[in-house]
């Protein structure tokens, strides 16, 4: 059972770690696709999600 729970813990840590990493190295579309001539509005939660 120790191995099983260790695997679950690792999966959770890896998932959270990837979310932090991707949020760090990626820009929101409203920032990435905004140019000097065109501003892209913040899509918020993309119509899905709490809030």
């Amino acid at each position: 059972m120790k191995v099983f729970f260790a695997a679950l813990l690792f999966a959770a840590i890896a998932a959270v770690g990837m979310s932090v990493l991707l949020n760090t190295i990626q820009q929101p579309s409203s920032v990435a696709f905004t140019t000097g001539g065109a501003r892209v509005g913040d899509p918020g939660n993309n119509l899905v999600g709490p809030g």
Binding site: V3, F4, A6, A7, L8, F10, A11, A14, A15, V16, M18, S19, S29, F33, T34, T35, G37, A38, V40, N45, V48, G49, P50
Partner: protein, 341 residues
Amino acid sequence: MPSSLSTLRVSIPRALCAAIALLFVLAHPAAAQLSFKPTAESVHEDQLLNALKEGDKITGRISIPDAMAASLIQPAGREWRDFQRSKLPVIGGVAIIGMFALLLIFLLVRGRIRIYHGFAGAKILRFASFERFTHWLTASCFIVLALSGLNISFGRILILPLFGPQAFATLSAYAKLAHNYLAFPFMLGLLIMFLIWIKDNIPGKLDLEWLRQGGGILFKGQHPPSRRFNAGQKGIFWIVILGGALMSVSGWFLLFPYLPGNVTTLQLWSVIHAVIAMLFIAVMLAHIYIGSIGMEGAFDAMGTGEVDLNWAKEHHSLWVEEEQAKGQAPSGNAPRAVPAE
């Protein structure tokens, strides 16, 4: 004369407009096929969509550096939506419910596969800690990925009426987050499984004999010889590796939708992802069945890592001999119990 002049003044611009319109129609064959003006106010969306042929697109001009945003309407998108809403749930339903039905029939007809000679009491190490860790890492991620993925196809039908829109929306949002991020440890698990088990999963002549005898699970007391993994397990291994690789590649494009380059390619990967997922889930149900309630003593392999010696001898006789020769297994004189059935 004045009246003819004024008529001329009116008719020349009209003729010019007609000529320009004709030129426009001739220069754009796709537009020529449309029996109405796409820009007219009276045009309904259905008319417009029905008039568009395979490969047609209505595009706009954009000034942001996202080329995909220029595609406004394309028939392929409608076909993709129809596939997601009508055909995919049927494929998934048949595969998954069909597999459940097959397993139930198999259990009722064949019964649980017992250890023919009973438990020996002596144990042999089947999977080391790291192997079990890798298995459970991949398996636990797979279960969450499968459930959250099935929610996309079946949630609207099965969960929404039960919990209501608010709870379903919240559940789906968190399921989507879990699906997106647990995909990474799943892919890591797949890669490690491939590296640590590939050497024992190369198909050989022995596998043909195993298959010829139905794996020894169709008839009681029959146990074809097998090394560490038999042909059935090798089949599962390659389904997991190849299916998982397809799921990973297609999933990668869905995670990073700007990689495919256009919406049509993205939709193709989405279809591949969904169809493989349904089949993958169905096959894994069979794997879970045979590794738990379907076969006595099988779960210990991934539970504690140690299996009963008689179980190992019956299902992996050649592997037991190899382990005994290396001194890593109890001798062949392990006590044999009375046949269980």
